[in-house]
């Protein structure tokens, strides 16, 4: 394999990995606060792509107006879901709330099939994002530059929010013990709502990037990215935002390199790689790579 080809593989990997990282942040954040694996995260992600599809294709509104509205809509969808499916179970055993999350996931998927139809739709792709740039031997979509930058911006912004603001302090307190935090005068419901809003907004941003990169959308499209990003979050240490980013990159680059270097007979098994990696990491580091107890749990 020549160096040029290797470089192309590496950029492909980074591009995919940063996308995983972006979605994994939202996953890990909700877990960090609520100790709840939000199985509906992938489906909230899916809804965001449909919001954008209808905004741009059906109503013909330009993307730069639609995209911010999509992020707001998705955030409110996430907050509604929290109020409807998770809040009534706040004091129930953890397993009940997890089952409620799985139910919410199926509900969203089937709702999407009924409302939007099962047929794949083409996501709008403005030239600003999908144009191709030739860098020496490497061909890149412009999007490939944007995604890692967006991921890093949100990583920094989130870390700041959590560690240096009052809302962040409330979030950290709720994550430690929501009953005590409530007694101390923190509005627990509001804090959790905000967390879900931010988590879902991140899912929306991830979804928009995903739709631009892989421009076809369908009601079950959130399942695989949801699983992969969950794996990325676990590998990095679930609850740890920096870990989620690291896990996303490891998974993305790993998947691409696996296909790149293995004989072509095995290229159909790339998804298996993600799951094997998860098992191996859990065997040796049950808390994930950055999931030490001392590191800040969001």
């Amino acid at each position: 394999m020549s160096f040029d080809i290797f470089l192309q593989h590496l950029t492909n990997g980074i591009s995919l990995g940063s996308l995983y990282a972006l979605i994994a942040i939202g996953y890990t954040m909700v877990y960090g606060i609520l100790r709840l694996i939000n199985f509906a995260h992938g489906d909230i992600f899916m809804m965001a792509t449909y919001f954008a599809f209808y905004g741009v294709i059906t109503f013909g509104v330009p993307w730069y107006i639609v995209f911010p509205i999509v992020i707001l809509l998705t955030a409110s969808l996430g907050m509604t879901l929290e109020v409807a499916a998770y809040r009534p179970l706040r004091n129930a055993p953890k397993i009940s709330i997890m089952i409620s999350a799985i139910g919410a996931s199926f509900l969203l998927e089937n709702l999407a099939i009924v409302i939007f139809g099962g047929v794949n739709k083409a996501f709008p792709t403005p030239e600003v994002f999908t144009g191709v740039v030739q860098l020496g031997p490497v061909s890149l979509q412009k999007l490939t530059f944007y995604i890692p930058i967006i991921t890093v911006i949100f990583l920094v912004a989130l870390l700041y929010l959590i560690n240096h603001t009052k809302t962040g302090m409330a979030m950290r307190a709720v994550s430690k013990d929501h009953e005590t935090a409530g007694v101390m005068g923190i509005d627990v419901n509001k804090t959790i709502s905000i967390t879900f809003g931010i988590g879902s907004a991140l899912a929306a941003i991830g979804a928009l990037m995903w739709g631009l990169k892989f421009p076809q959308i369908y009601p079950l499209m959130g399942v695989m990215p949801g699983l992969k990003c969950f794996i990325a979050a676990v590998i990095g240490g679930i609850g740890n935002i920096k870990g989620a980013v690291l896990g996303g990159f490891i998974l993305g680059v790993g998947e691409i390199m696996l296909v790149a270097f293995l004989p072509s007979d095995y290229t159909g098994y790339r998804d298996a790689f993600a799951f094997i990696l998860l098992i191996v990491v859990l065997l040796f580091r049950p808390t994930g790579i950055m999931g030490e107890k001392i590191s800040e749990k969001v």
Partner: protein, 384 residues
């Protein structure tokens, strides 16, 4: 001696199983002929399934009666999933007690129903499933389209003679019987045409539902093939072609009949310009009287040009009606026996003559994407 005995015993058991299956399939209402349809209405193949159902419904509208009885369509969604396909076929056979079945878009889905319809003796007609295994060894499965050994040869011929390709790369959907079969027949044929055992420079695989193909495509780019053969669903294929062009791959990309859907054009956009594939029927070349009738009715109903698989769905329906007419009965076995004799039947997508394996022998059409539309390129006749 012992072996003879065991074969005899197996035979007895099999017959009794078949008979018991049959006894359960009593027709509920003798004043209606029920035709079951199992097609993907949701999931990855939904667009393809929808196109076939359009054709079936249109045929039902034009020919609503047979033997003086009303024909009722019972449509089941097989959700683009092999297990669901078997469930859907089971429901049609056992619960709805249909007289005949049409389906399904996707060879894997059709195969999942094979044993069920065979056991229940319900004649089933595939519209566009092209893998040879669908009808092989199953007396109750028929189809109105050609099969992949022919389709693979057609595309290999096109690559070798029209494109003058010496080296080809393959990227196929590994969990899809249709794609794997087509890739194999293409490989065999391309090897014998070029006389070069190493003419396939890369044989890449991917999974149904994958979205990122950059790794496989970068490997293909490194081998610099003259042509890329990419059999698979239109959804993944459109993304593959898009990503290939983004990676700067200039080689022509060719594929099979599954590409002919609006979604392929919409998802692929400008990138799929020049994509070439074999299919069953071109609206520019109506073949029979029935073709014209179908085209006029379709345009009046849907205000657009039909896809090839829509014509095949239509053909599957009218071929079943023809067999029921000749059998003069709604009985599965009688319909089957008449259907097997189908010869020179005038379908919308061409003249249908079934061979001994219940496959239609007919011409293939090559189409290319030009100015964002599927455009007729060539007609290839089967070898006699």
């Amino acid at each position: 001696m012992k072996r003879g005995l065991s074969i005899l015993l197996t035979g007895i058991i099999m017959t009794s199983v078949a008979l018991s299956g049959c006894s359960g399939a009593k027709k509920a209402d003798s004043n209606v002929i029920k035709i079951g349809v199992f097609e993907p209405m949701t999931g990855a193949n939904a667009a393809g399934g929808a196109l076939e159902v359009e054709g079936i419904k249109l045929a039902n509208k034009l020919y609503p009666e047979v033997l003086g009885k009303k024909v009722e369509l019972v449509i089941e969604d097989n959700k683009s999933d092999k297990v669901e396909a078997a469930n859907a076929a089971n429901r049609l056979v056992n619960k709805e007690k249909v007289n005949a079945i049409i389906g399904s878009w996707g060879s894997s889905l059709s195969m999942a129903a094979g044993d069920i319809v065979k056991k229940a003796k319900v004649p089933t007609v595939g519209a566009s499933c092209t893998n040879p295994l669908v009808t092989q060894g199953n007396d109750y499965y028929f189809r109105v389209c050609f099969i992949d050994p022919f389709q693979g040869t057609v595309m290999a011929n096109y690559a070798a003679t029209k494109l003058n390709a010496k080296k080809a790369a393959i990227i196929k959907e590994v969990s899809n019987d249709y794609a794997v079969g087509l890739a194999k027949f293409f490989t065999d044929s391309f090897k014998s045409l070029t006389g070069d055992q190493n003419c396939i420079v890369e044989d890449s695989k991917y999974n149904t539902g994958d979205q990122d193909f950059t790794a496989q495509l970068t490997n293909i780019k490194a081998k610099n093939p003259d042509v890329i053969f990419a059999p698979g669903n239109f959804t993944e294929s459109a993304l593959i072609i898009k990503q290939a062009r983004q990676l700067g791959i200039k080689a022509p990309i060719i594929g099979g009949d599954t590409w002919e859907t609006d979604e392929f054009l919409k998802i692929g956009g400008a990138a799929v310009e020049g994509a070439t594939f074999s299919t069953f029927f071109a609206t520019e070349k109506p073949i029979t009287e029935e073709s014209k009738k179908f085209l006029d009715a379709y345009k009046a109903e849907y205000k657009k040009d039909p896809a090839a698989v829509t014509a095949l769905g239509y053909d599957a329906y009218i071929m079943i009606l023809d067999a029921i007419k000749r059998a003069n009965s709604g009985d599965g076995e009688k319909i089957r026996n008449e259907m097997a004799k189908t010869k020179d039947f005038q379908g919308a997508a061409g003249v249908i003559t079934l061979d001994e394996n219940r496959n239609a022998v007919k011409n293939a059409v090559i189409k290319i994407v030009k100015d964002g539309k599927f455009t007729y390129l060539d007609t290839i006749e089967p070898k006699k």
